[in-house]
């Protein structure tokens, strides 16, 4: 059996940050966000490739990661205009597969759109079509979040 995977995770304590963002505990956030990451593990056995997603132990350049953010309306009221923004971390780039359908920014979150409609400087004084590796942020917009509603937002990335 050949394990093509790779990986080390540290300090991945799932810890909702709402206590930091809100000074008064008496007024808790009605929404929680929980981030997670998985690494793709490819196992080739008898010439057959099996892919699974595991908690990373070792990651090296070229590995595929899936970052996910779970959201939940923990309050009693409906929430509107729920916009989740996720900067692409340094050291990874957005994976090409699925990048076209995401709402992304290639300029640090100033402007947004589908990847196919965005342009970046080509380094020669002109502009070129933006690529998945140019993406700096991804964003999801949920118009309405009813009480108790939960879900997960994910994007795939490749370690540079």
């Amino acid at each position: 059996m050949k394990a093509n995977w790779i990986a080390s995770i540290i300090g991945m304590t799932a810890f909702a940050a709402c206590t930091l963002a809100t000074p008064a505990l008496a007024n808790p956030q009605p929404v929680e966000l929980i981030g997670d990451v998985k690494v793709e593990k490819v196992v080739v056995e008898n010439g057959k490739e099996t892919r699974s997603w595991i908690k990373p132990q070792v990651v090296v350049p070229g590995d595929r990661l899936t970052f996910s953010t779970q959201y939940r309306n923990t309050g009693a009221n409906k929430i509107d205009n729920f916009v989740v923004t996720n900067p692409i971390p340094t050291g990874v780039m957005l994976a090409p597969d699925g990048a076209a359908t995401l709402d992304v920014s290639v300029d640090g979150g100033k402007t947004w759109g589908k990847l196919g409609a965005l342009q970046v400087a080509d380094g020669k004084g002109g502009q070129r079509a933006a690529l998945h590796a140019d993406v700096t942020h991804v964003r999801w917009t949920l118009p309405v979040l009813n009480p108790g509603t939960t879900g997960a937002l994910t994007y795939n990335a490749i370690v540079r």
Binding site: T13, C18, V58, P89, H137
Partner: protein
């Protein structure tokens, strides 16, 4: 209590880092992010609820990048090196295509399948002064199988292999010399993990190259062979060709140098046969007279014999030496 404190500190700094770094354009690196880099992901959300609005951040998930062991070796000798009687330098480059500092064990194998001859390795050295040229006595010499200095991620190092032709090589034969570089931490199937041996205290993982690569340089033997043919003509005092006393024998020595190389320090020598006397000033090289004395010209001649110093003669050249003796 301590655990909780650490968690909060990490969370605070990580959130800040995530927000700050996001606006910095990320330069793509050939060898990937450096070993020890932390990949930190944080999402944040804004929302409204009735008349109020708010924002919330997720926890930060952090992944540490481990050391990828990868290497690329290239032979820098694009046209085969011509090897004659002196040693030649073969050049290779080793590039650390991994993402952490790594030294590489260098193995040179002159026995490559299809070789006309297997070169003799004299010295293996790496370009420790970084000037791109082999400097005998300056560049660091390593044993076959020995390690280079540590190469930073993306860095390249030139390695010189000084070789000579083996005794049996013949003109025009070609040969390849293979240089293999193996990561000192270890090699193996891609994905092999060396726990705790990566740069920055993490693991080291074998990359697509298997942490080993090799390349060959080619050399061609350029040698010369020398053939010497001696002939004689006799002129007797009566106009005939009888070897009688008083007849003059003209000896002709033809040195033919063949091959693509050159013959160095080539001398044509002969002794004066017993019963004959060297005829003064009869020594000629390619039809031109040479003085008998040891002087600026190539020839020396006397009662004991003749010696013509042809020096370095390229392949494809013929030199003709003549001298006369008289039968006593």
């Amino acid at each position: 209590m301590t655990q909780g404190h650490i968690t909060i500190v990490r969370l605070t700094s990580a959130v800040t880092a995530g927000l700050t770094l996001a606006v910095v354009p990320q330069a793509a690196q050939a060898a990937g992010v450096l070993a020890g880099t932390l990949i930190e992901n944080t999402a944040s959300a804004t929302y409204s609820s009735g008349a109020a609005s708010g924002s919330v951040s997720s926890n930060t998930v952090t992944v540490k990048v481990d050391e990828l062991l990868d290497v690329a070796v290239a032979g820098l000798t694009t046209t085969p090196v011509t090897a004659g009687s002196t040693s030649v330098v073969l050049e290779y480059s080793i590039t650390n295509t991994g993402n952490g500092g790594e030294a590489f064990n260098v193995t040179v194998d002159p026995a490559v399948a299809g070789n006309g001859f297997d070169a003799v390795i004299q010295t293996i050295a790496y370009d420790s002064n970084g000037n791109g040229n082999y400097d005998a006595g300056v560049d660091t010499v390593i044993t076959n199988g020995g390690a280079t200095s540590s190469l930073a991620a993306d860095a390249s190092l030139k390695v010189f292999v000084i070789v000579t032709l083996p005794a049996g090589a013949t003109d025009g034969q070609s040969s390849q010399v293979r240089l293999t570089a193996d990561a000192v931490t270890g090699t193996g199937t891609p994905g092999t993990v060396f726990t705790g041996q990566g740069e920055g205290g993490g693991d080291a993982v074998v990359g697509a190259s298997g942490a080993s690569d090799n390349a060959t340089d080619q050399m061609i033997a350029s040698l010369a062979t020398v053939a010497l043919a001696k002939s004689a003509t006799v002129l007797d005092p009566f106009g005939g060709s009888q070897p009688v006393p008083g007849a003059v024998i003209t000896y002709t020595l033809v040195a033919t140098v063949s091959g693509t190389g050159q013959a160095d320090d080539l001398h044509v020598t002969d002794v004066i046969p017993a019963g004959t006397t060297y005829q003064l000033s009869s020594l000629k090289l390619d039809g031109a007279g040479l003085t008998d004395a040891a002087d600026a010209d190539a020839g020396v001649a006397g009662a004991s014999g003749i010696d013509v110093n042809l020096g370095t003669v390229a392949g494809g050249t013929t030199k003709t030496v003549k001298f006369d003796v008289k039968i006593n």
